[in-house]
């Protein structure tokens, strides 16, 4: 089993979010956006301790509208988890036997699922916040009777053991025989044959004797210490001895530790003496060892570990971080990861990413879903329209859910609208359909995403951490716009602006659509020539209207960037620049000729110009107006 969806209300920074979870899901977002809150919500709802004394919740967990609100009058925290069978028949029979009282069944597909709602709210009788839980049916009504027995909750948890590796994981704790949930259990589970154990004891006793004889002071020490037993005298005499070697083989095993060396001739060192990166990484691998060797014994057939992993990249070199995704992806069970590393994100599939942001409405999560749903009551003719749409739409009658697997096309949308005409709740239905169409218009196709995989992979790491995007044509624009912004006192890196150049990263239309889907503010500057117009056309093709395009996209009025520079710039600065690059007769170049020479050595001139803008040898104010205006606009954006 695995968790397919979590819906959280009124929990810390979260007012209401719903997140779909896959085999591996990666949350990215700035500090304090609410990533850890999502992980904690999962952990609390799935941790055995929950519902007993000292639940995972505390009083600061209830999100309140503001400081003046009494927590007791709030709705309290609600966490809904849903676990869906991937394909009908995937869950082993043992799951049905065990969880038969809480399983719900989709009658038509035969797929099974379980939904749990955990709440933490004020209980007037108890005069305290109290945890409650209930399993739900398709209408989200709580199941009663046998299904409401506590044993069902315990069983459900056994199928979803959750393991939390937080950002501050410490190798000394994780590999401690006492405090580690993995290492200690692994050591305790070791089976030592009786003859080996007896032999080990014999050797230990022998060793002990020899050590005690090694220094005569030991004998004297023991003698003095034995005074304790004489004072606390009882009828029968006790004894006191010094023990140098461990008393039992178990004690010996408890001291087991990992040692390693980096080079064949380097000394062996314990793990805690290794670099931070190795330490952090080894904890993740320890989890794998634990799952492979002990999970089956400790849990059920069909149990799948859920690993909540914070910042796997901690202390690791970028090269190592890049490969880390592949390791984590292959870890057993379901993985939920938070990261701050662009290197890590580079290899994460787009649909597995979740962008977490803090807005006025609290934490919000954006993703690139493959389908969109709305809850809408059944009405006459609906089934026919759905059938006619092929695989595009589906309707689930019990939960009254209409789902679009892609963007809702105009024909289907209009057909649905016209059916609502006679319905008593016409306005409500129409507005729901409109919302569905609007949200599904954010759909990014698999083809788009594939194109981005091939062309924009390196970019991906950066852009998902950015707060705004600026689309430009090529690397020249990239260099100059960065330098200009810096000189104008608005450093793009510092303000979280990612500059994306289409030449290196693919279709600007895709980026614009991506920005829209992820709700990332964006602007664009292109050349005023045919190439630039093509760029804008590609964006327009993604269903952006002209007003929005006029608002977001600027072009150089004189043509391409070089033409614009030649037209705007103090000629002397540009001539000097070309001269310093060794262009003969640079001083005589003007107008078109100047622009042509600049075009001849694009990257070279651009980096030199950028350097000059930064140190003041070239004036930012003379850079193209489209750049300067866009920078000002970015500065004003919230």
């Amino acid at each position: 089993m695995r968790i397919t969806r979590i819906e959280i209300r009124n929990f810390r920074s979260i007012r209401h979010v719903t997140v779909d979870l896959g085999d591996a899901t990666v949350f990215v977002g700035p500090n304090n956006a609410g990533k850890t809150a999502i992980l904690d919500a999962l952990r609390i709802a799935l941790t055995r301790r929950w519902g007993q004394r000292g639940t995972g919740f505390d009083e600061y967990d209830v999100r309140l509208a503001d400081d003046t609100v009494d927590p007791r009058t709030s709705d309290g925290v609600s966490i809904e988890l849903r676990s869906d069978e991937p394909e009908p028949g995937d869950w082993p029979d043992a799951v049905t036997e065990d969880l038969g009282d809480i399983i719900q069944i989709d009658l038509f597909s035969g797929r099974r699922w379980v939904a749990l709602r955990a709440q933490w709210s004020w209980n007037e009788d108890a005069d305290a916040f109290e945890p409650t839980w209930e399993f739900l049916d398709a209408k989200r009504d709580p199941l009663v009777g046998r299904s409401a027995r506590r044993v069902n909750l315990d069983r459900f948890w056994r199928y979803l053991p959750v393991f939390y590796l937080d950002a501050l994981r410490d190798v000394r704790d994780e590999f401690s025989s006492r405090s580690s949930k993995f290492w200690g259990r692994l050591l305790r589970a070791l089976e030592i044959p009786a003859d080996v154990e007896a032999e080990a004891m014999r050797v230990l006793d022998e060793l002990d004797k020899r050590l005690l004889k090694a220094d005569p002071r030991l004998d004297a020490m023991a003698n003095t210490l034995s005074g304790a037993t004489r004072i606390a005298a009882r009828d029968r005499e006790g004894g006191l001895a010094l023990r140098m070697a461990p008393l039992k083989t178990r004690d010996l095993l408890a001291r087991a530790e990992i040692i390693l060396r980096n080079e064949p001739d380097a000394p062996w060192l314990p793990l805690r003496r290794q670099g931070q990166g190795i330490q952090s990484l080894s904890v993740i691998f320890l989890f794998q060892v634990f799952v492979e060797h002990l999970l089956g014994e400790l849990y059920e057939e069909g149990s799948q570990p859920l690993l909540a992993l914070e910042e796997p990249e901690t202390h690791l070199h970028p090269q190592a971080v890049r490969t880390l995704w592949h390791h984590i992806h292959r870890l057993p069970g379901q993985k939920i990861v938070t990261t701050h590393s662009p290197y890590f994100v580079q290899h994460v599939p787009f649909r597995d990413l979740r962008l977490v942001r803090l807005t006025r409405n609290g934490t919000e999560v954006r993703s690139l879903p493959a389908s969109f749903s709305t809850s809408i009551p059944h009405f006459d003719g609906l089934d026919e329209v759905v059938a006619k749409s092929g695989d595009l739409t589906t309707y689930e009658a019990v939960s009254e859910t209409l789902t679009v697997n892609g963007a809702l096309d105009d024909t289907t949308y209009r057909a649905l609208l016209s059916l609502c005409g006679a319905h008593p709740n016409r306005t409500e239905l129409e507005s729901k359909l409109r919302d569905l169409r609007d949200s599904s218009s954010l759909y990014i196709t698999d083809d788009d995403l594939r194109a981005l995989e091939t062309q924009g992979q390196r970019m991906r790491g950066e852009i998902f951490f950015a707060e705004r995007w600026l689309l430009v044509e090529g690397p020249t624009d990239y260099l100059i716009v960065h330098a200009t912004a810096n000189a104008l006192g608005y450093d793009l890196d510092q303000h979280g602006v990612a500059v994306i150049d289409a030449q290196n990263n693919g279709n600007p239309g895709t980026f614009a659509a991506l920005a829209r889907a992820l709700d990332i503010p964006w602007l664009a500057v292109f050349d005023g020539d045919k190439g630039g117009k093509d760029m804008i056309k590609k964006i327009r093709n993604r269903e952006f209207d002209d007003n929005s395009l006029r608002d977001r996209c600027r072009t150089h009025s004189a043509g391409d960037l070089e033409a614009q520079l030649a037209a705007d710039g103090p000629e002397a600065e540009l001539q000097d620049l070309l001269a310093s690059m060794g262009v003969p007769n640079a001083q005589t170049l003007r107008g078109n000729g100047l622009a042509a020479k600049l075009r001849d050595s694009k990257t070279a001139y651009a980096s030199e110009l950028a350097a000059r803008i930064r140190d003041g040898r070239a004036t930012a104010q003379s850079m193209p107006a489209a750049f300067r205006e866009t920078i000002e606009k970015l500065r004003g954006m919230q």
């Binding site: 009908p88 029979d93 043992a94 049905t96 036997e97 065990d98 038969g100 009282d101 809480i102 399983i103 719900q104 069944i105 989709d106 009658l107 038509f108 597909s109 035969g110 099974r112 007037e124 009788d125 049916d137 398709a138 209408k139 009504d141 709580p142 199941l143 009663v144 009777g145 046998r146 299904s147 409401a148 027995r149 506590r150 044993v151 019990v398």
Partner: protein, 653 residues
């Protein structure tokens, strides 16, 4: 050595009983005559399956026909395999279906906390409300359609198919069919609106769900073994449900049945059902002919009787008595003839009264009709013998308890208007406080409180004296959520119980104690109120027999009973067999009467007394043909006072 209750119980079984208990997974029918230890075989088999799979999670489903039998089996399984009984789900057919619908009813628009309307009064008022809501000019005649609706539901005909079914299958005129279908549809809508189901809909709706392969598969997987008690009583809709659940592959079926004890054909049971089971599931058959209950003369009389039934299973072996005939020369079967039914009642009552108290306790008086038992009860009362009439009660009989249950129902379903009417009416009956329901509903709408809170306010403000005012205070505590239901209920019961020596209330209170204990054991002390009420609805509210009292039961209510001393009264032509069966076309009804007689006589552990009178009311009656068939003519019949000749006539006058 650890005490192993299962092993020691298994050792006590006969070889053939053990064979049934140890039977492998294949489908099996156990033909088990009266007193053959069938419940023991069933419980041992469940315990054996659980015991041999301690590490597995699958469950065993056992279905019975009474909550009492289910409860008893659950208790026995728990005693045999302590700690494993959790995996045994033992229910009645209806209880099982209620569970299915609680969990999956959402697909049919049923909420998990539905109420079960079990008594006719509630259901009639549902139909009345439905008709009032659904038609502008309700036809009073439509209110009498409830039996027609029940008839359709019992045959799994849904409201949407009713019209066609009536017209085509039942030859009902088209207008009449449309009328029935409309009333049916309105009735169903009203039930849904009230978030309620009636008995027949439990089976009907569960049957609908099982039409989906994924649902049936779920139950097949969850329950690896299915066991059935008294399979001969399964009616057509129950059997169809079972077939759907089993699909085409499921075969791990173990049914215990006796075709000679099929006495519910009037309710859709059929002696053919056993044959259907054997054929549809390819059951092998094991017979348990040994009768451990009855002495040999009674076993023989039973054997002689049932061979007159032509439609029995041909290869059924005659029963064998396991017990010896009494060595004290006691006659195990005796006959009594009386002149009139009154003489019979007083004569038998006097005979029972003359017994010493230990023999008298637990004596069982059986009759074909309830009317005979009521006369008997009067006669026993005159003799000063305590007697309890065992009969299913769909509801409590005292207004006090009906009021209290209505209060609880109102807590679980705060806006149930129909229940509120029952509450107000019942309260008026015992507390003489009359409140206007419409006023009440209006005031709760105006003040924004629940009807129950409005009711307590109105009663509290009426300035009544204790204990009535105290009752209202307790309910106020419940309504506000300040009082724990369990505590408040106890306090209310105490207040009611102190009241007086009201027989009905006494009956109800002892029934309540038994039922609430039973339910708490079964669903756990933490079960919510809604679930508790669902269970209460499924159970009969009759009181347990008072200690030392004589039990009176109709033959149809005698299933599962046994007693050292059994009186079967009114064994005459026209009563047993019934007038209807004697005059019916075909032998079916008569054969069912014969099986009834068989069931009656085989309740006996020691002594059976058969009695009859020559006249019942105005009607002269001849002794039953079953006496002759059992070979009991020619035996000496002790004449009751005022009786005629000592040898009964064999032909009707």
């Amino acid at each position: 050595m650890r005490a192993d209750p299962l092993a020691s119980t298994l050792r006590e079984l006969s070889a053939i009983q053990q064979r049934a208990v140890e039977w492998h997974d294949g489908p099996l029918l156990v033909l088990a005559g009266p007193g053959s230890g069938k419940t023991r075989v069933l419980t041992c088999r469940i315990a054996r399956i659980l015991d041999q799979s301690p590490d597995e999670r699958f469950r065993v489903l056992a279905l019975t026909f009474t909550t009492k039998a289910a409860h008893e089996m659950t208790t026995r399984v728990a005693a045999l395999t302590p700690g494993l009984e959790e995996r045994a789900d033992i229910h009645t057919f209806h209880g099982f279906c209620a569970g299915v619908l609680r969990q999956h009813g959402v697909h049919l628009g049923i909420k998990p906390d539905f109420a079960i309307y079990s008594n006719a009064r509630d259901r009639r008022s549902v139909l009345q409300d439905a008709l009032a809501r659904g038609t502008s000019y309700p036809d009073r005649a439509d209110q009498r359609l409830l039996p027609r609706i029940d008839y359709l539901k019992a045959r799994l005909v849904g409201a949407d198919q009713a019209e066609e079914w009536c017209a085509s299958r039942n030859g009902t005129p088209a207008r009449e069919a449309a009328r029935i279908a409309r009333a049916y549809r309105l009735y169903e809508d009203e039930l849904r609106r009230s978030n309620a189901l009636d008995y027949n809909s439990l089976i009907l709706e569960a049957h609908k769900l099982m039409a989906f392969p994924a649902m049936a598969r779920h139950y097949r997987t969850m329950y690896r073994h299915w066991l059935f008690d008294e399979f001969q009583d399964t009616n057509g809709s129950q059997y169809k449900l079972l077939r759907r659940m089993a699909g085409s592959d499921f075969r791990r079926i173990f049914a215990v049945a006796d075709d000679d004890q099929t006495i519910y054909e009037w309710n859709g049971a059929s002696i053919r059902r056993i044959g259907d089971l054997v054929r549809d599931f390819g059951c092998e058959v094991v017979q348990l002919p040994t009768n451990y209950r009855c002495p040999p003369p009674i076993v023989e009389a039973g054997n002689r009787l049932v061979v007159y039934n032509a439609r029995r299973r041909m290869r059924k072996r005659p029963a064998e008595a396991a017990r010896p005939t009494s060595s004290h020369g006691e006659r195990h079967i005796q006959c009594r003839e009386f002149e009139t039914d009154h003489d019979e009642a007083t004569g038998i009552a006097a005979e029972i009264a003359a017994l010493d108290a230990t023999k008298r306790a637990g004596t069982l008086v059986l009759a074909r009709t309830r009317a005979l038992l009521e006369s008997m009860q009067v006669a026993l009362k005159e003799e000063g013998v305590p007697a309890t009439l065992l009969a299913r009660r769909d509801d409590f009989v005292s207004p006090q308890m009906r009021w209290m249950v209505a209060c609880l129902r109102q807590l679980a379903r705060p806006v149930d208007r129909r229940n509120m009417a029952i509450l107000v009416d019942a309260f008026q009956r015992f507390a003489q406080v009359s409140l206007d329901l419409d006023d009440l509903l209006f005031s709760c709408a105006a003040e924004g409180v629940t009807p129950l809170s409005a009711w307590t306010r109105m009663v509290q403000s009426a300035g009544l004296r204790s204990p009535v005012s105290e009752l209202a205070n307790r309910v106020a505590g419940l309504a506000s959520g300040e009082a724990r239901p369990a505590t408040a209920i106890e306090e209310i019961l105490d207040l009611l119980g102190n009241h007086e020596s009201d027989e009905n209330l006494k009956d109800d209170l002892s029934a309540w104690r038994r039922l609430s204990g039973e339910i708490r054991r079964e669903v756990g002390p933490a079960a919510d109120l809604g679930r508790f009420l669902q269970e209460l609805d499924l159970r009969s509210k009759e009181p347990p027999p008072a200690p030392g009292s004589v039990s009176l039961a109709t033959i149809h209510g005698a299933k599962g009973l046994e007693s050292d001393r059994v009186h079967l009264i009114g064994i005459v032509e026209g009563i047993l067999p019934s007038w209807h069966s004697v005059n019916a076309d075909g032998v079916g009804p008569l054969e069912e009467e014969r099986r009834s007689c068989f069931v009656a006589v085989t309740r006996t552990k020691q002594r059976l007394v058969l009695s009859w009178a020559r006249r019942y009311g105005e009607w002269p009656k001849a002794p039953s043909r079953f006496l002759e068939e059992m070979g009991l003519f020619g035996r000496e019949c002790r004449r009751g006072p005022g009786a005629g000749p000592s040898v009964p006539h064999s032909s009707p006058e």
